[in-house]
Symmetry: C2
Subunit: 202 residues, 2 copies
Amino acid sequence: MNLQKRSTEELILEAAQAVFLEKGLAGARMQEIADRAGINKALLHYYFRSKEKLSALIIERAIGVILPRVMAVLDTDMELFDKIRLVVDTYLTFVSRNSFLPLFIINEVNRNPQFFFRTVVEKERTHLDKFRRQVEEAVAQGRIHPINPAQLFMNVMSLVIFPFLGKPIIQVGLGLSDEDFKREMEHRRTEVAEFVIRAIRA
Amino acid sequence: MNLQKRSTEELILEAAQAVFLEKGLAGARMQEIADRAGINKALLHYYFRSKEKLSALIIERAIGVILPRVMAVLDTDMELFDKIRLVVDTYLTFVSRNSFLPLFIINEVNRNPQFFFRTVVEKERTHLDKFRRQVEEAVAQGRIHPINPAQLFMNVMSLVIFPFLGKPIIQVGLGLSDEDFKREMEHRRTEVAEFVIRAIRA
DNA sequence: CCTAAATTTAACCAAGTAGTTAAACTTTCT
DNA sequence: AGAAAGTTTAACTACTTGGTTAAATTTAGG
């Protein structure tokens, strides 16, 4: 009971995550989660009493996995341009492997902003202050064009995340196959960072 | 019956749009749409037989409103940098006034890509070829850094749209009030274009 | 005024869904 | 072996939701 303890509970969480990401909170069915986990509905409720509690766990898990990665990078003492390169690379790699995650998070955060607020903000906001000071310093030294750190951060996030949210639009609009899209995202890993750096370098 | 003919049908469509944008397709209730339109469910079904047909209309309407605006700008013979300035300004203005639209469209397009494909692609893709050639020409003339036109287009879309999708995250992460956020978006109207231009200008 | 369309009322159906329950069976630990 | 936890089965509830129906009422046009 201890070697495989991870089994059922983890199985359910994985199944739940998959279903929630694919169908969204409202569209997800407890029955489907049970089916995918290879168990039955009764057991599902036996482990996680309600859909609400289960979904709350999944959301926390999802946000808790992606956010610290970015913050960890922003929090280092790295030189600004290198930091931009690293954060783009880190984020892009992660999102490539979890391409449904951004849409799910964006959705739930929009549906219920306070939840995100409570879960994350207090701990993580401070990290951004460091980045902010770093940018302001670089501006003061004339190393980069004057830019509001908030805007710069928004720009980096936008360039990294959006293509995955708009994947179908982009694929269809630009006529890219799945392979093509993957290749473009591969290019972006270096392109985006250099794009940003050219945009701000004095 | 002719002066006010727009009345009920339009009322329903407006109510439906509002509810769909707020709750998403799965989360929207026919009853709530009826309530907001100030009518009853029976009449709602009397006008639009099913939820599916109604939602299809709303989606077409939403996409049909936002897409042509961008394409129209991309299709002009304007000089590249000016075109970037104009497309950013046009898009940002529109999205500011319809801030729920991007999330809705992104969602439905991800949920059902073929629908978007059938609705839009055939007519609109050609416009992008013009932009593509224009960028390639500018690269060839050495006026701008070498960049894949697809990547450039993705970057512009990302920078314009993403902040509205991630509004709650950004607000919370950067500690912005609604007023602050609005002001930042106002800044972006000029900032984003110049950001992109600096990034590509040779 | 008369008719047809628009609209309401209210009850209803069928399907789906979250969640419960109780009994039986199985596995695991001691 | 025996108890406890894990798991299944299957039926059931309470509720929501999309959609229907039929009759009554209101509105507008010819």
